[in-house]
Amino acid sequence: MTPKSEIENSHTIAVLVDNEPGVLARVIGLFAGRGYNIESLTVAEVAAGENLSRITIVTSGTPMIIEQIKAQLDRLVPVHKVSDLTMDGPAVERELALVKVASSGDKRVESLRIADIFRARVLDSTNDSFVFEIVGDTGKLNAFIELMEPLGLVDVSRTGVVAIARGTGAL
């Protein structure tokens, strides 16, 4: 059995940063330089007046590594706040994917049927293709993409995870 301290878990970390040049490079450089994983990373301005951006990082590691990652992020000068949404209580996570499927006949019908089950929307359609938009957690997106594979999947574009704590609290 692997001791608890050795188990690698996935964590979603939200980081509030000054929206200034180089801040993303700093965060990415930190992960690359110290050998941490980035499973997904999203970033966008969230408070234009205050010039703040929010970065959501999904990473994985042992508890000691996750603790290091948070401490390392927190000591960057443009970082205002670091929150481990996985640890700090319930949070909701969403990801969006655009999925292109090119097929005809039965396969085309089947892809539309599955899209319906997954509540994916059709954003574009030609005689031989669809572009679906699907929103959900990472697992749901993975499942959908996997099902599209034999049905003519040709291209996928994903946003990466965004997340927010449940309840009234703010970052």
Binding site: G22, A25, R26, G29, M64, E67, Q68, A71, R75, V77
Partner: protein, 587 residues
């Protein structure tokens, strides 16, 4: 006055003056000509012209470490900026506050591969605590003030401010420090009282305690060293220091176990291995200290005081983390220790000291000076004897065996007297660092304990030494080898001495003379005292070339990848303890 129009360069210099800067180390070039023009027109700042930009950063490091102030560097764009990368990395690893101003091509040319353009913020991002590219003169003063704040607060470190030429030429308005809102980066300095209480309880119950303290004590300011000394004496517990911490606790104190780590003393390392409570104060459990991690101090509860939360639980899991500035935390700790009337178990403590004294009796640093060849340990010991009672002495070193012998045989009673490149281990650090110390303390005795290989790495700085008449003393332990490399090759590569012999060395006496300094040489043990006496009597720069035993090794040694109790004490020890495969990959 405040709203008077100035250009960016004048604003920059005003920032420096208002940040209490009196000396800067630099080297000019096209991109910084406007700044040099402004320097020409003022008297508040003294510029020290180095001979290579690497020297400027190490000089600023020596300046910073000996004064507690921020060291300031000014270099041009492109090659000027790339030449400071080693120094910045050095300052980052050893937590030295530096503000490094780099010239940059004008903003409209950035990204064009312009002449002497380098992506300075890109290159220095991983080797600075923070860096800035100033894009308009309106941001200049605020940015420079913030740079000083970041460099000196929390865990100190180097900060780069990249200054495009058009920005330092543009007219603008100065903002003084008290008008700048520092709305970010405010590290916690007070420790959590609950944790401190817990630490005191743990310490009070200890049967085999040890204080393990490092450079963080020195960075916290001289008061921290005094508080540490007070607290260690109050407890009666043993204390060991890292290479970076030497001077934080008086070396002559009976409770001092000497330095710990790879070339630390037997008693310090075994006390670390066997202790039941360890209190780490401003040190970071790096691999030179811990040796093999899974066998590091297996039976102890650990307390860790550090201002940088990322230092905690990085390599070693600790039981009581305390985030805060060393001086603040120690002050609270002493208060609580006294108010709780903590009473350590004297019987256990006596047994612990008895054990430590047995380890001490091994006399792990012993050596014999006999015959015709100078032993390096002897040379340093004589240097120490000759200078220990002098008023104002600072020691810098290069990197290698001589550095370790200096750490082992030169005793430091006070903080800020010892400057060495610990984390990065940068050969070529010592001479420019000594210059920086001497600039800050013109009347002090400043000695660079050097190796003949290291000294050649920044030997051009002899010209700076000459220009500013800096009376630094360079005490070379000349073994005609990259001794530390040779030692590893002897112990780990069966004596295949690949490229570690120093061919074609200069005549250091003549070299000194060519720079207007005095050159001295000692070849026999009997020459050593005379050479030291002569060196100390000369009020100019001196290069003392001390020809030492070429094949002496530095012991004790914990081979990379071994545990504390697997220390090699001397030449006889090697055969029984081969280094493991895992150890061989370590540096």
């Amino acid at each position: 006055m405040a709203n008077e129009q100035m250009n960016g360069s004048e604003i920059l210099l005003k920032c420096l003056v208002d940040q209490d800067v009196t000396e800067i180390f630099g080297y000019p070039g096209g991109a910084v000509l406007p700044i040099y023009d402004a320097i020409f027109n003022q008297n508040a700042l003294r510029h020290i012209l180095v001979r290579q930009e690497a020297g400027a950063v190490h000089a600023a490091e020596g300046y910073a470490r000996s004064t507690g102030k921020v060291g300031v560097v000014l270099v041009t764009s492109g090659p000027g900026a790339t030449n400071v990368v080693t120094g910045l990395t050095d300052a980052l690893m050893d937590s030295i506050p530096i503000v490094c101003l780099t010239g940059q091509v004008p903003t409209h040319l950035i990204g064009n591969d312009a002449f002497q353009e380098a992506d300075t913020t890109g290159i220095t991002r991983p080797c600075t605590k923070h860096n800035y590219l100033v894009k308009t003169v309106d941001d200049l003063a605020r940015t420079v003030h913030e740079a000083f704040h970041v460099a000196r607060s929390g865990r100190p470190g180097p900060v780069v401010v990249d200054l495009p030429k058009d920005v330092v030429q543009a007219p603008g308005v100065y903002t003084p420090p008290n008008k700048v809102k520092l709305k970010r980066y405010n590290p916690q300095v007070k420790g959590d009282l609950k944790a401190i209480k817990q630490a005191v309880e743990l310490l009070a119950q200890a049967k085999k305690p040890v204080f393990y303290c490092g450079g963080g004590v020195i960075n916290s300011g001289p008061a921290a060293s005094q508080l540490l000394t007070q607290f260690v004496r109050l407890t009666g517990y043993p204390c060991t220091l890292t290479l970076m911490g030497l001077g934080a606790y008086p070396a002559s104190d009976p409770q001092f176990l000497g330095m710990l780590g790879m070339h630390g003393t037997y008693e310090a390392n075994l006390a670390m291995h066997d202790c039941d409570v360890m209190i780490c104060v401003g040190a970071r459990f790096d691999d030179r200290i811990t040796g093999k991690l899974d066998e590091f101090s297996p039976g102890s509860k650990k307390i860790h005081i550090d201002i940088d939360p990322s230092s905690i639980n990085k390599n070693v899991r600790v039981d009581v983390p305390i985030i805060g500035d060393v001086a603040h935390v120690l002050e609270d700790m002493i208060k609580i220790w006294k108010s709780e009337q903590a009473k350590p178990d004297q019987k256990a403590l006596k047994a612990w000291w008895k054990q430590i004294d047995e380890w001490r009796a091994k006399d792990c640093l012993k050596y014999t000076q006999k015959g015709d060849v100078i032993k390096p340990q002897y040379a340093i010991q004589r240097l120490y004897e000759a200078t220990k009672n002098l008023e104002d002495v600072f020691i810098t070193t290069e990197v290698g065996q001589h550095q370790m012998w200096a750490a082992q045989f030169y005793g430091f009673e006070e903080p800020n007297r010892w400057m060495t490149s610990g984390g990065l281990g940068t050969m070529g650090y010592g001479l420019p660092a000594a210059m920086g110390v001497q600039v800050a303390h013109p009347d002090a005795l400043v000695i660079d304990i050097a190796g003949e290989a290291s000294i050649l790495m920044n030997i051009q700085e002899m010209s700076t030494v000459a220009q500013y008449r800096l009376p630094v003393k360079i005490f070379i332990l000349n073994n005609e080898y990259m001794g530390m490399v040779r030692q590893w090759q002897e112990l780990l590569y069966e004596g295949r001495y690949a490229e570690s012999y120093m061919e074609s060395l200069p005549d250091f006496v003549k070299l000194a003379e060519s720079f207007g300094a005095v050159g001295l040489r000692a070849e026999k043990p009997g020459d050593v005292d005379g050479l030291i006496k002569e060196m100390l009597a000369i009020d100019k720069a001196v290069i003392a070339d001390v020809m030492i035993d070429k094949t002496e090794n530095c012991f004790p040694m914990i081979p990379a990848g071994a545990a504390h109790h697997e220390m090699l004490l001397g030449p006889g020890d090697e055969a029984e303890k081969p280094t493991s495969e895992d150890g061989m990959v370590l540096v």
